[in-house]
């Protein structure tokens, strides 16, 4: 059983390999403006103010960062050809590490402790998959179990009897500093209050990035840039990626494949651990059992969504963080507003299928689905609480299903590699 997965359904490229169309910075900027415009229109039409309030956006950043860090962890290891389903376990280890070291030695050491504990999880994964060459999924599943057990066991061992702490939670942790840019933040806040179409929406987005921004968020963004630079602009990165694309070819060129894979998985664990550290130190200021809530898996999903690239990964994490923040802040009425957007989008896709691609059945189904959603929007005022909780998951699934599938994972991702066994 190899973990490479089936290729069914994925686009098969025959003949000359097409260079995947990359978006230019100008196109990305244009898309961002369109997205803000869309949100602005939706806000005015439905009156759901939390769609673009700086509070909701700050929450979105807070929710997106741990997912993005977990995804970054996935990116490092999968680019070197090691599937890492154990991100969740490494993240859990990170939450405990952040709390333990943060409580005893201060929050900065806590952040390092989180990365270190995640790295321990990564080391187990590396020993199992790189040194012993076992199936990557098996090892990852085992690490998820071990991480969960170890964190709970260690929490009970180390936090019982501490002031405010107990077997399932740590004492309150000191906060890390936040950044506000003086002069700019208040100005943007007043602009947001004016409720001017588009301008206020833009102001609130910028405001969310310059007001009370956690230093860890800045570090996370820096790590995304650093990852991109190291993996795509240095010799080290090229060699590391070559291990994920064709380890045998890398071996013939004198690359020590084992070493690169090992380093990649260690970094992967550290990133996931930092994600857990963010949850404990920044989002909650406390360690709690079950704090990660499957975010390691969602980070993995964000990375696949982003086509194994840092930029795409940030997009995936942002989408998830935004939809989650909107439902948490505004609840039913805000999610209700998103229904209108969904209905319009689905109907538009249906029309496109029908008129441009002459796919009658797909088009009709999409238009009918859109009409049902629109009907739901118009007859109801709000969405039930149990449903709003599903928003980020449904949104991720819909975006994946609706966007065309040109995902391409590293060619040798998930395949066990043994030195000198080139066939």
């Amino acid at each position: 059983m190899s973990t490479a997965g089936l290729k069914a359904g994925a686009e098969v490229v025959t003949g000359a390999v097409r260079r995947p169309s990359r978006l230019s910075p100008r196109q990305i900027a244009l898309m961002a403006v369109v997205a803000v415009l869309l949100i602005a229109v939706l806000r005015v039409v439905t009156g759901a103010r939390d769609l673009a309030s700086s509070g909701a956006l700050a929450a979105a950043i807070g929710l997106a960062v741990p997912i993005g860090l977990a995804g970054l962890g996935g990116l490092w290891s999968e680019r070197a050809g090691v599937v890492n389903i154990g991100l969740e376990g490494m993240m859990i280890l990170g939450t405990w590490g952040a709390a333990f070291f943060g409580y005893h030695y201060g929050p900065w050491v806590g952040l390092l402790g989180a990365a270190f504990c995640g790295m321990v999880g990564g080391a187990i994964h590396a020993v199992a998959t790189v040194v012993f060459g076992v199936d990557h999924i098996v090892s990852g599943v085992a690490i998820n179990i071990i991480g969960l057990g170890a964190a709970k066991y260690l929490a009970a061992r180390t936090f019982t009897g501490t002031p405010g702490g107990g077997p399932t939670q740590s004492p309150a942790l000191a906060s890390l500093p936040t950044i506000s840019i003086p002069g700019v933040s208040p100005g943007l806040a007043t602009l947001e209050q004016k409720q001017i179409f588009f301008v206020s929406d833009l102001a609130s987005i910028l405001g969310a990035f310059v007001t009370n921004l956690s230093i860890v968020t800045v570090i996370a963004l820096a790590l995304v840039l650093l990852t991109w630079w190291v993996l795509w602009r240095t010799t080290f990165g090229l060699r590391l990626r070559s291990c994920g694309e064709s380890p045998v070819a890398a071996e013939t060129l004198g690359v020590n494949v084992y070493r690169y894979k090992f380093i990649a998985v260690l970094i992967s664990g550290a990133m996931a651990g930092l994600g857990g550290g963010y949850l404990a130190l920044v989002a909650a200021n406390i360690y709690r059992d079950g704090q990660t809530g499957g975010r390691g898996f969602i980070g993995l999903a964000a990375m696949i969504f982003g086509n194994w690239r840092p930029g795409g990964l940030v997009g995936g994490a942002a989408l998830f963080g935004y939809t989650d923040a909107v439902q948490l802040r505004g609840g039913g009425s805000t999610v209700h507003a998103l229904l209108l957007l969904l209905a319009v989008l689905v109907i538009a896709i249906g029309l496109w299928q029908l008129l441009r691609r002459h796919r009658v059945i797909q088009g009709a189904v999409a238009i009918a689905a859109g009409a049902i959603v629109a009907g739901w929007f118009f007859v109801s005022d709000t969405v039930s609480d149990e449903f709003t909780g599903m928003t980020p998951y449904v949104a991720t699934l819909l975006v994946l299903a609706l966007s065309s599938q040109r995902l391409r994972m590293p060619a040798a991702d998930g395949q066990p590699y043994r030195k000198g066994e080139a066939g």
Binding site: T3, V134, D135, G149, F297, Y393, L397
Partner: protein, 371 residues
């Protein structure tokens, strides 16, 4: 003969090695954390009391079904993380229907099982359909569907909840007594009974073995898992296989909650056992996707879970220690198999080399040459 014995020795070596490693690693962790090593192992390794033996068998039957569901996917390289969501949606649907008691006795059970199978299959089918038509990785879609299942079931549960006064547990209507599956008094010395649906688990295990090993469909499925290109070349419609495998996996997942529903809880509520799907993944891997191996894995899993309940009281160690042991066992087993496999390979190579040297010196190189 001697080689055969040696091979058997190698096959036995892996699990024994793994258990030893798990034992050592856990002891080391306990020592480092300053917990009583001896007390922990005395608690975990005492012969379980009859009441616990029943609980172990019952737990194992549920784990078994979950692991078989995962294994169906694994055999063709599909990773169904969604068993967790599938079994909850299916158990809820079956519980709602069975609780209504529209049908008498056995017929009610039968139709409820059918509903569970169909609902489980359909829920998994969403992921299957997304994979074949839109190319969405089943790993992502099943993770998302797990979360969606949680929301959906809790929403519907509050709609149909049978709110009995004085109870804060929300659950569906109780299954009428005539439609409950009686247990077996298998273990003497306790009034507790083994689930009647242990037989269902065994039946699913047999069906799994027969379908995979004795039918053309099973052959195609395994072939697709081993090499997709080879399967395509031999005329397998991979897309249809993906969808069918996903539906089958979901159907088996639909049965996971049934022993609990008809043998113990008689309703689906907020206290229905969670997390069975993730245990299934580990057990399927532990049992190497083989129906008998999975049975041993499920029993071991259930044994550790039941025995760990006393850890807090007897040894003052938190019960979560058992997760560490379970995880280390999974990891140690696969590493041990890999090490043993390589040792076996080297042994075979040496054997062949020796035979070639001694039997026909100088002949081997000319044999294959064309005349």
């Amino acid at each position: 003969m001697k080689a055969g014995l040696r091979r058997l020795g190698l096959a036995m070596a892996a699990p024994v090695l793994a258990v030893l490693v798990a034992f050592l690693v856990t002891s080391l962790i306990l020592l480092l954390a300053g917990d009583p090593v001896v007390a922990v192992w005395t608690q975990l390794l005492t012969v379980p009391r009859p009441r616990l033996i029943v609980a172990i068998i019952n737990g194992a039957s549920v784990f078994y079904l979950s692991a078989i569901a995962v294994a169906i996917g694994f055999r063709m390289n599909l990773f169904n993380i969604g068993v967790d969501g599938q079994y909850r949606v299916a158990a809820f649907a079956a519980a709602v229907f069975a609780g209504q008691g529209w049908l008498p006795g056995l017929l009610n059970i039968f139709v409820s099982l059918l509903i569970a199978v169909v609902v489980g299959a359909l829920w998994a089918g969403i992921a299957g359909w997304l994979k074949v038509s839109r190319g969405v990785s089943e790993v992502i879609s099943t993770i998302m569907l797990n979360a969606i299942a949680t929301g959906l079931v809790s929403f519907l549960l509050f709609k149909v909840a049978d709110s009995t006064a004085g109870s804060n547990v929300t659950s569906t209507k109780l299954v009428p007594p005539s439609s409950r599956v009686p247990g077996f008094a298998l273990i003497p010395g306790t009034p507790n009974r083994v689930y009647g649906f242990v037989l269902l688990a065994a039946l699913v295990g047999v069906a799994y073995w027969v379908i995979l090993n004795k039918t053309r469909f099973g052959y195609d499925l395994r072939a697709t898992g081993r090499s997709e290109t080879a399967a395509v070349a031999s005329g397998v419609n991979v897309k249809r296989m993906v969808l069918t495998a996903m539906l089958l996996s979901g159907a088996a997942a639909g049965l996971v909650g049934m022993p609990l529903l008809f043998g113990q809880d008689f309703s689906y509520g907020t206290t229905f056992q969670p997390g069975l799907g993730f245990a299934g993944i580990a057990i399927a891997l532990l049992g190497r996707n083989h129906p008998v191996g999975i049975a041993f894995g499920a029993l071991l899993w259930s044994y550790l879970e039941q025995q760990s309940n006393g850890l807090q009281i007897k040894a003052g160690v938190s019960t979560e220690l058992v997760f560490i042991i379970q995880g280390v066992i999974v990891l140690a087993v696969v590493i041990a198999y890999e090490v043993v496999r390589r040792a076996g390979l080297r042994m075979e190579q040496r054997n062949v080399a020796r035979q070639l040297d001694s039997d026909q010196p100088g002949y081997t190189f000319t044999q294959g040459a064309p005349v």
